[in-house]
Symmetry: D2
Subunit: 288 residues, 4 copies
Amino acid sequence: MANSKFEYVKNFEQPDNLLPNTWIVVRIDGRGFTKFSNKYGFEKPNDRRALDLMNAAARAVMSELPEITIAYGISDEYSFVFHKSCALFERRSNKLVTTIVSTFTAYYIHLWSTYFPDTPLSPPLPSFDGRAVCYPSVQNLRDYMSWRQVDCHINNLYNTTFWALIQQGDMGALEAEEMLKGTYAAHKNEILFSRFSINYNNEPEIYKKGSVVFRDYELVDPGTHNAATEADNLAEPVLHSKNQTENDKKHRAKARIVIEHLDIIKDEFWDRRPWLLSNKPGKVPKET
Amino acid sequence: MANSKFEYVKNFEQPDNLLPNTWIVVRIDGRGFTKFSNKYGFEKPNDRRALDLMNAAARAVMSELPEITIAYGISDEYSFVFHKSCALFERRSNKLVTTIVSTFTAYYIHLWSTYFPDTPLSPPLPSFDGRAVCYPSVQNLRDYMSWRQVDCHINNLYNTTFWALIQQGDMGALEAEEMLKGTYAAHKNEILFSRFSINYNNEPEIYKKGSVVFRDYELVDPGTHNAATEADNLAEPVLHSKNQTENDKKHRAKARIVIEHLDIIKDEFWDRRPWLLSNKPGKVPKET
Amino acid sequence: MANSKFEYVKNFEQPDNLLPNTWIVVRIDGRGFTKFSNKYGFEKPNDRRALDLMNAAARAVMSELPEITIAYGISDEYSFVFHKSCALFERRSNKLVTTIVSTFTAYYIHLWSTYFPDTPLSPPLPSFDGRAVCYPSVQNLRDYMSWRQVDCHINNLYNTTFWALIQQGDMGALEAEEMLKGTYAAHKNEILFSRFSINYNNEPEIYKKGSVVFRDYELVDPGTHNAATEADNLAEPVLHSKNQTENDKKHRAKARIVIEHLDIIKDEFWDRRPWLLSNKPGKVPKET
Amino acid sequence: MANSKFEYVKNFEQPDNLLPNTWIVVRIDGRGFTKFSNKYGFEKPNDRRALDLMNAAARAVMSELPEITIAYGISDEYSFVFHKSCALFERRSNKLVTTIVSTFTAYYIHLWSTYFPDTPLSPPLPSFDGRAVCYPSVQNLRDYMSWRQVDCHINNLYNTTFWALIQQGDMGALEAEEMLKGTYAAHKNEILFSRFSINYNNEPEIYKKGSVVFRDYELVDPGTHNAATEADNLAEPVLHSKNQTENDKKHRAKARIVIEHLDIIKDEFWDRRPWLLSNKPGKVPKET
């Protein structure tokens, strides 16, 4: 029985390969996580278990997809970055996005009981949506990352103050909202300190900075590499010899994937980790 | 602290709304399921537990997304159909695809232990990729569904014969492959019957037909409705009154989602279930 | 000298094939025609020479591209329709749009002196932009055509009244604009009739209805064909035998391309000319 | 009379804005120019009048669209480059491509009689198709330009030899083709020189190098500017003050548009004309 009569329907599928030589950022977001976090009693303003679960899922995604060079997460969202020379799945947008969304979801569900041992999941289950965006230059990519980290800071300062007013200041949600309307960062810092003796600077880094996930190699001295300019000058996918590619893969597999809470807006983070922009594995640190 | 300096990066996100007035099919596929099925010892040619798990995940997706009108699954793939008038997520491709992929994955992982109680999951976890395709006419949509069901039949007849040769005929894989090369359906039926006394027609319907998932209403008499022509004539999203929409929603929520193994190529399946093409809920059957 | 070092840049070109089995409408618009029409002293509210030039260019486009089934023009815009089964240029959007825009422009410039013999063109020259839009069903296509013809009527009634107030009523532009603000069709008809003894119904059809361009065959009796339903049911490009295609081509080449000013909103226009929706050449009328 | 009933059809138009911060190249090609050039008796291998007409049309396009920074033409094709910061027409692909194609065609037809005074145009008229491609980095853009110039050289050397064999060597087309099959540049140079005493290096630059069109400012010393790196570092459209933009416009309007036949593969061309990559008008040369 031939299938040819119906096979013409395959022609309706449209190609979705992303523009070559651009950085691909896949961002995923929790669907309806306000409701979800209430159902499972997430602590406010930040639930450490929930963040650790997000980070564990992100680390697993990076481990299964070594083509991802760096990831950054805040709250219920995570951004995964593919190097501009990446050719995974021929850069097909749907393949890249759904593979990340599905892998992330799988680990989020699978690892849930590790981080929430006393509250088993029940339907409706948590899920994530996602999208891919192309950024032509290193500056665009870094501005994207900076945008997310600034958002993390803005939201966390707001939420920390908001929930302090409610939890320690006995305010209602509307009252707290009203009070914070139009305030600047300085005002919120002042409220936290004067009313609740909270020094915002001493809050945990994971809440203030979010989480950045990457492969760990030996830091280099600032000024010794120029990975950003090299990356911008890179015109097409570098075609290594087969051996070189295999070597790189083994190198990457050996590298430890770390989760840090660092400033990714300033140059230093990128200058000292040239492998993030060059896509060439760094030097594996000595045993520690 | 304003975020305006970096916010320009939002402009790089490109719209992906699918063409209005077309049927949207989101098909998802298991990633690397050959390896995965070996790891967990899936039975060959079909593992009933694995299919039941796929079906349970598909039913959960339909339950969470009432905008899906029908779904069809074979092996490690599932197709979900949105009516041509569907306006969910403004028809943004990424939102539709990732929501389905993520929800499906979540239930697949969550329900795994129900169907495989003795073999707990371990990394790397199963995952799925997906894509959305638009079909302009009812005929295109039905041809797509027929294409998948013909594929189901072709693959299942081949696999049933192939594994009979191996499991009962003591052949090696290469030998069996060689023997089946270029054979027609009649040959395979003959091999099954003469060598192994297997009448392919008596094989379970779920293996021969795949699984079709939909909301169950009272069947209508063929010829009394013309949902296909009505659907093709429909030019734009029908704007019901708010009340009507709410009523439809309640109606749908009440309807039982069933999983059947029927012929979806012939007209009868569609003629007797006009709600699948009209998107108007049918009559809820009396208690049985 | 091999060109291979630079040829990778070809990979940046992205496919733009339009969704199969949908009607393709290419609409072109004059760029900056208000200024242009002032420069060449176009008569207001309608310049017959300018419309005749537009129509002559459209006829030439249809003659060079027999795959176009119908075209409709008003003012400085023209819409060209490709049948849903059309496979010209593999349905690549850029090829279809630029070929029409370029051919139209070529004839507009070339024929200018025929219609404006006393006012030679000088830079900046007139030009047109264009875009392709897909419509899945016959109803969508007809609604598109109706939309343009309703626009023609609305604009022409307004412009006829506006310019009567100025040219015969000695009003200034602002005064006329103010007077017409918020008026319904009936008011404008009334103004034309009572003030200027103009019966709008007696205005030339070309101004009231626009221009529709198509191949002329023998009209059929309404109700004898059902081209719309047949077209909607058509699922994929019909694959004729080579001979059939050649025959169709010759048939089309023989057919006279006519320019009419008819109502294309009502069913009659389409019912009596089934070849417009079926894409099958009709019967060539006897010599007249 | 309201138009609302049909206006929903506007929703079928899909956005086509090109990725920000990328160089946009619009390339246009003559449609069926082999046939066209035979019809009008173009000289082989190069017809100077035809090239001059192409160049005149390209210059007119650049004059009407000051956002174009550079153009490059060979044979019946022309590439127009918009700076990566260009925001013309909100970077809508169709608007950019059709405007260029239409304007180019208009001038080609209009100026025809200047360059071919003795052979008036007759239907079918010459026309052009076009497409837009995005290039993320300066290197990609320059590689695109180099690709075209290398093509020019390869084609011209081949055509020069091919037509010498035919016109001066009395060969037939097939025989000449056969003779040149698989030959390298050196062979062709040798054939030209030994058989026909033609030194290919002495052929006119316009044939060997093609034509590059740009605004003329004072050349700068190589090494004093780094426009390429600056351009790559540029992350978003530069928002000048309104005054600055107006000044730039006036500056550009004053600049002479020149047509040269230079090597655009080597660095020197770009190093000495930093305004091509920086998009900042250079210094207008003193009267000469």
